[in-house]
């Protein structure tokens, strides 16, 4: 090629085609004016907690997109919930879909683990519950005190993880917000057929093979 302008124009043109295909058309199809009925917006505290999730990079180990049963039953057997649809992420900015499962999927953690105290223990020291866990501990989201003041939330810990000298571990506001966000992660309400059409169906059973599969 010998001419600069056609090269540059051609290059941008090709990228515009890709933008049409990967950005504009999906947006046209996926974005709706209305969220799913049963999905409430995040409260102020949950949004602050979501900021903590983002700031500490939880998304780099935890996904938030359970797979369909057509692809695998692992996600269902783990209690991770139904396959998600675009509407489930209506209020999510930034999206936290995630690309790694070093840790479990969390889209429905608030549906299956509703104990705030459990989350506080786990976030302070995951190995106090799961000795095999490689999740980081987050001591900086908590503070050690000689004794709890009124209104403090004290973290329940086994003896060997308690600080020495009778001190207690108290949750900071950041981790209380974070736990509020985690408890809000519940997308177990049913997805409408229109929403289900908008997720990746490439692994789901075809109608004709599904009927054939009944015998098995």
């Amino acid at each position: 090629m010998n001419r600069l302008l056609p090269l540059l124009v051609g290059a941008i043109g090709v990228l515009l085609l890709a933008t049409l295909m990967l950005v504009i058309l999906p947006a046209w199809q996926m974005r709706t004016a209305q969220p799913p009925e049963q999905l409430p917006p995040y409260t102020g505290q949950q949004l602050l907690g979501r900021q903590q999730y983002v700031a500490n990079g939880c998304v780099y180990c935890h996904s938030q997109q359970p797979r369909s049963t057509g692809q695998t039953l692992f996600d269902s057997a783990s209690g991770w919930g139904r396959a998600s649809t675009p509407g489930d992420y209506f209020y999510d900015a930034p999206h936290l879909l995630g690309t790694m499962r070093t840790g479990p999927d969390l889209l429905n953690i608030g549906a299956r683990m509703k104990s705030r105290d459990w989350h506080l223990t786990h976030l302070y020291q995951p190995r106090s519950i799961f000795d095999w866990s490689i999740m980081p501990s987050y001591p900086y989201l908590f503070e050690e005190k000689d004794q709890a003041s009124p209104g403090d939330v004290v973290v329940r810990l086994p003896a060997q993880f308690q600080p020495s000298g009778g001190r207690v571990v108290v949750a900071r506001k950041e981790v209380l917000d974070l736990v509020e966000y985690l408890l809000s992660l519940d997308r177990t309400y049913p997805a409408s057929p229109e929403e289900l059409q908008k997720r990746d169906r490439g692994y789901d059973q075809r109608p004709e093979t599904a009927l054939a599969g009944h015998a098995g």
Partner: protein, 275 residues
């Protein structure tokens, strides 16, 4: 575009003898063109196979045909306030390092997601499970964390408490499980695979029998499937005579999924049949 003629005549003494400056430009190899065409055909095929069946032809679709509303049971009575007030401290407040039972299992013992319903389960069964968790004959890290701190009296108290609670209403999640297959397995089993019907041990309504066979009806479906998968996967071993180990190993995961969701949809005892 005009050809670019440098008019380069290499000097003879500079030429590397193995280099041929007058070779014709090699055209695009046939091989590469063949790859391009083959991939193009493959690509078209991929589009057709992935997209065609899902064009809205109105074909019946196992995923889309699930009921839009969740299946729930008719509401039985909630525990009365005296039951709640007389609950052991552990249940609603926890103690020391131990979280309160209700914080995971719900105020009415109804469970949540894959955390099971405890309300209305048999007292002896619950006590055995707690001891198994403590001894790690049944594996669950969170329950082990709790159970290892419990005294015998704690175990007796919480088991008795939960056994006394009425079976609550469950809000079931949407699933694409094959409920017909689930019902078949539940009521008749699959004797081609030496799998007895669930009702033969767990009661004709799945309500549970005695101290060894817990209720399946109105139990969290995610929990049921999780446990059946654990038996099949070799991670749960505390079933009497390894009954559940064998049964689960003979069924496919899809069958286990189906029967879990069917059983969970059955109403608990004392409730009017919801459907």
């Amino acid at each position: 575009m005009k050809p670019n003629h440098h008019a380069t005549t290499p000097r003879v003494d500079d030429i590397d003898p193995t280099f041929e400056p007058w070779e014709p430009s090699r055209p695009i190899p046939i091989f590469l063109l063949a790859v391009l065409i083959a991939l193009a055909l493959g690509g078209v095929g991929m589009y057709l196979s992935d997209l065609a069946p899902w064009a809205d032809a109105g074909a019946s679709d196992p995923v889309a045909s699930i009921p839009a509303a969740p299946v729930t049971q008719a509401a039985p009575a909630s525990p009365d306030s005296s039951t709640v007030q007389n609950a052991p401290v552990l249940v609603h407040a926890g103690r020391g390092s131990v979280w309160s039972c209700a914080s995971c299992h719900g105020d009415q013992g109804q469970g949540a997601g894959s955390t099971p319903r405890l309300a209305g389960l048999d007292e002896t069964y619950l006590a055995k499970q707690l001891r198994d968790f403590a001894a790690e004959t049944r594996l669950n890290e969170s329950m082990h964390y709790v159970a290892r701190e419990l005294t015998d009296q704690d175990i007796a108290e919480v088991a008795a408490y939960y056994a006394s609670l009425p079976v609550p209403r469950l809000v079931l999640p949407q699933s694409d499980a094959d409920l017909d297959r689930g019902r078949m397995l539940f009521e008749k089993g699959d004797w081609k695979r030496n799998v007895p019907a669930c009702v033969s041990c767990h009661g004709d309504q799945g309500q549970g029998v005695g101290t060894s066979f817990p209720p399946l009806a109105a139990q969290r479906p995610e929990y049921l499937f999780n446990q059946l998968a654990a038996w099949k996967g070799g991670h749960r071993h505390n079933s009497p005579q390894s009954l559940m180990d064998d049964i689960a190993s003979r069924l496919s995961y899809r069958d286990l999924y189906a029967v879990s969701n069917y059983a969970a949809s059955l109403p608990g005892p004392g409730a009017d049949a919801a459907h």
